[in-house]
Every structure is written in C-alpha cells, then in structure tokens.
Amino acid sequence: MTNARVELTELQVRQLRDCYRTLRGLAESVGAPGVRAAVRIAVADLHAALEGQALEFDLYTHRWDEESSAHDHTLAS
C-alpha cells in the first residue's frame, strides 16, 4: 500500500475554518426551521471532517439548549 499523504494547504485550512465559523454562527441565529436544520447538519458534517484533520474540536450542541441552562439535563428528555 502506498504511504501517500494529502495535506490540506494553508489556503484550504483558512477557507474551511471560515466556513465553519460562519455556519456555527448561522446555526444559532437562523430562525427559519428548514434552514436552521440544514445549517446544523452542515456544521456537524464539516466539524467531523475538521476534527479528522486535527483542525477543530468543538463541543457545541449544549449551547443550543436555551431552556436547560439553569438545571441539569438529566430529566429534560
């Protein structure tokens, strides 16, 4: 098997990070349900890819839980 490596270029890294930041912002601010759902899926997809390249590690979904900020998550389901 070849030991080929395909590294992201600096430009690609910068573009991907910009995309991620933009999507993360939209995921918390967009009100239209259909758009918000699509953006949140896009955030997850991009995050998995960036994490695989050791570029980003962000645990963020708990921030979307406006109602649970004052209490534990245990009983929220």
């Binding site: 080929a4 395909v6 995050h47 050791a54 979904t61 708990h62 839980d65 649970s68 245990t74």
Partner: protein, 441 residues
C-alpha cells in the same frame, strides 16, 4: 469569489490522512486536548460531576485519578432517571438518534442517544474503518441486518452513504432474497455478523448459487461477534472476498477498531476518537504490548453521552503501530476482541447469560431440570434448551412451544427446545453447570 485549488485525484488509503498518520507525540497531544475539553463539558452531567476529580492536568494524571467505570455504574445511573439517567452532558432533547443494547443481559438495556453532531461523529468513525478496508464511492454495499435498535449496522449504512458508496437496504428480507439481491446488483461490500455470513453461505448452497462465481462481494465487514480464523477462512473462501473484523460498543457510540487490509488480524484502534488502555484483569494495572488484558475505553469526541475509563470486559492484546506496514500510527489489537472476562455470550449479536435463560425456564412448573446449549446449527448460532419435564404426563409439544415463545419474548431469540427423559439430566449441589457453549474450541 473564493479562490479554490484544483481537486487532487490521488487515491489516499486513509479517510483522515492527518490524524491517521500523526507522529505519536502529536497524537498524544491531540488526544489530551480533546480529553481536556470533554472533561470540561462533563461538568454538565450530575453523574460525571460527582465522579471526576477536579483539575486533571495530563493524560497520566487522568489515568491515575479517574475511577474505572463498570457496567453496573452505567445501569445505576440510568436507573435513577430513565431513559438515559444522570450521565448525559447535553440535553437528550437535542438528540436526533436513539439506540440501545439488546437488553438481554438480565438487566435493562444500555440506552444511548446522539445529537446530530454526535451521530455524524459516530458515522465518521465507521467511515474511517470502512474506507480503511478499501470501500470507495463507486461501491454498492449491503448491510444484512434487521434495521432495529442496534446501532452498529445502522452506522455502517450511513458510513457507506458518507463515503459516497450506495447502501442497499435489506432490512425486511430473508436470506434467499438477500442472496438474489447480492447477485442481481453485483454488490461489492457486505456487512453482517460472522454467524449470519455462514447462514447465507448455507442458504446459497441450497439455492444452487455459488457466491464466489455468481456474486461480486469483495469486502466483508463481519462484526458483532468473536470469530475463529477458521470461520473467517470459510467465509472468505465461499464469497471469494476479504473478511474484515471490526468492533465497538453502544457505550462508546461507535466502532473503536477495524482490521487493516495490510496485515491480517491487525485491528487498528481509531485513536483519534478513543483512548484505549489495557489493564490486568485482577490488579487493574496497565500491561505492556503483547500482554493480554482488559480493554478500558475513553471516548474523546462525543458530547451527549460521554465515556471515561469504561471497563469493557473485553480481553485484548495491544501491539505497536509500526508492526503493521500500512503507515497508520495507530496501535492495533491483535485479533481484535479475544473474549470476555464475564460469562456473557453473544448469539447473533445478542448478549446472553445463563441467568437470563434460567429466569425464563424456572417460571415453568412443568420443568424439572434443564440445560442451555449454545450450538452452531447450519452455520447459525442457536440456543438449544434441553428440558426435562416434571412428569411423563406433560404435553411436551405444548410446553416446548410455551418455553420457546417466552424465551423469544424475553431474550429476542427463539430457541430450539429438546426434551430429555425424566431423571436423566444431571443435578447439582454446588456450582451448577447448565450452560454449555459448544461453539468454543
């Protein structure tokens, strides 16, 4: 207008080239960074907040101070506040997927939810494994399972999709229909348990189908059960395909290892998402490369249900990464999961213990004694319950049907029920031996 660079057309053997080939010191630093943030999030969980020491300063400090997590701890936490208990670090209401274990270990099942982010993370880990096995976007893949609560093969379905391959769902089909589909669609990738692979081979023979000649399966992901090399060889020979091992746990949420095409039985740990210790079963101290111990798993990346130092009961032997020539810097488990420290047995992916059968059978007054035998019948793992009726007046046919239905309802698998003459089964004063696994050896 964003300027874009041309697409590289090199076929890279790694799904994530960067983290799969990281120098070990960089990998350790990346793991620590992820663990550090995971520990911080865990403060949202009542369970982990109580359990985790404050100010863990390094991986070494983590190993030294964080207590081992046993199944009983998980079940206790889950029992406090069903369905998911006190462990979640993120509101389960933000989940988008639910899965659970078979619920057949004599206790309630381990239940699991995933946020969209977590599910993507889980799928991506599975894609790492499949891509590493050689699955590519031009392939068609069939996942031969019932599409029920068990997470593992759902992940394979979505991982095929993520890679860009074409998943062929076969949830409602019997073995004959699946074989016809494999042949008709020239399916190249097949996911299933080793037991079910043997069943498909047997069924194909009955149909007059030569799988090696008539089908086109090239890559088999056979998971969910331990297997012998002989079983692997039988499956590989019958299909004319490479058979790969993989394993994971519901507690972790996804696969933790996969067998490398470069070296048979070298099951690389996906070290970008999990930290695997191997500890002596008795002293609970680390063992070295090449020594057998219990796999202790720490998930680094899941946000809803986190896992720190989970004592899996899986017996493994870890080997250093450089003994495999694939270029990954991930250590590997030699031959995957070698066995378990407890008495749990896997039947068609379902966990079965002696007490589970006993709890059912002992409810029948007409049963004087019984034995449970795990046997491979026509290639399929089967539970055989050998019953000794309390008297010769018992209608064996009726009793057998009732026991079969009860076990099916409680355990999820319909057993074969056999009858022994009154007084012929052994009795025990101490340490009963009613449970026999004839598949071993």
């Amino acid at each position: 207008m964003v300027s874009l660079e041309p697409i590289s057309t090199v076929d890279v053997p790694y799904w994530h080239p960067r983290t799969e080939t990281m120098p070990r010191d960089e990998l350790a630093a990346w793991q620590w960074e992820k663990l550090r943030r995971s520990l911080a999030l865990a403060r949202n969980s009542p369970f982990w907040r109580e359990r985790l020491p404050a100010d863990i300063s390094s991986l070494e400090d983590y190993f030294a101070r964080v207590p081992l997590l046993y199944r009983k701890d998980i079940m206790a936490a889950q029992g406090v506040a069903p369905p998911y208990g006190t462990m979640p670090s993120t509101n389960p209401g933000l989940g988008s997927h639910h899965h659970q274990t078979s619920g057949t270990s004599g206790h309630p099942p381990v239940r699991s939810f995933d946020t969209t982010r977590d599910w993507t993370w889980c799928v991506d880990a599975y894609a790492t494994a499949l891509y590493g096995m050689g699955v590519r976007e031009h392939h068609r893949g069939m996942v031969a399972f019932g599409y029920g609560l068990f997470a593992g093969f759902w992940l394979m379905h979505y991982a095929l999709e993520r890679i860009g391959a074409t998943p062929v769902p076969s949830g409602g089909m019997d073995s004959r229909a699946r074989i016809r589909l494999l042949v008709d669609l020239r399916v190249e990738v097949l996911g299933l348990t080793p037991s079910y692979a043997l069943r498909l081979i047997e069924t194909a023979r009955e149909m007059g189908v030569d799988l090696k000649r008539d089908a086109n399966v090239k890559i088999i992901m056979a998971g969910g059960e331990p297997r012998t090399d002989l079983t692997t060889d039988i499956i590989a020979e019958a299909f004319g395909a490479r058979v790969h091992n993989a394993a994971g746990t519901t507690e972790l949420g996804t696969v933790n290892m996969f067998e490398c095409p470069e070296k048979r039985n070298a099951c690389h740990i996906i070290e970008s998402i999990v930290i695997e210790e191997v500890l002596d079963p008795v002293t609970k101290q680390p063992v070295g490369y090449g020594e057998q111990g219990v796999r202790v798993s720490t998930g680094i990346g899941r946000e809803g249900l986190q896992l720190f130092r989970h004592w899996t009961e899986d017996l493994v032997v870890k080997r250093p990464w450089h003994e495999c020539g694939c270029g990954r810097t991930w250590d590997y488990l030699d031959r995957g999961i070698l066995g378990r420290t407890d008495d749990l047995r896997k039947i068609r992916g379902v966990s079965v213990t002696p007490t589970m059968v006993e709890e059912v059978v002992r409810k029948f007054d007409d049963v004087a004694e019984y034995q449970t035998i795990l046997r491979r019948v026509r290639g399929l793992d089967t539970i055989v319950v050998r019953v000794e009726p309390a008297s010769s007046q018992v209608d064996n046919e009726v009793l057998g049907a009732r026991i079969g239905t009860a076990i099916k309802n409680e355990i999820g698998i319909r057993p074969d029920v056999e009858f022994a003459e009154p007084g012929t089964l052994p009795r025990f004063e101490l340490k009963a031996a009613r449970f026999h696994d004839e598949r071993e050896g």
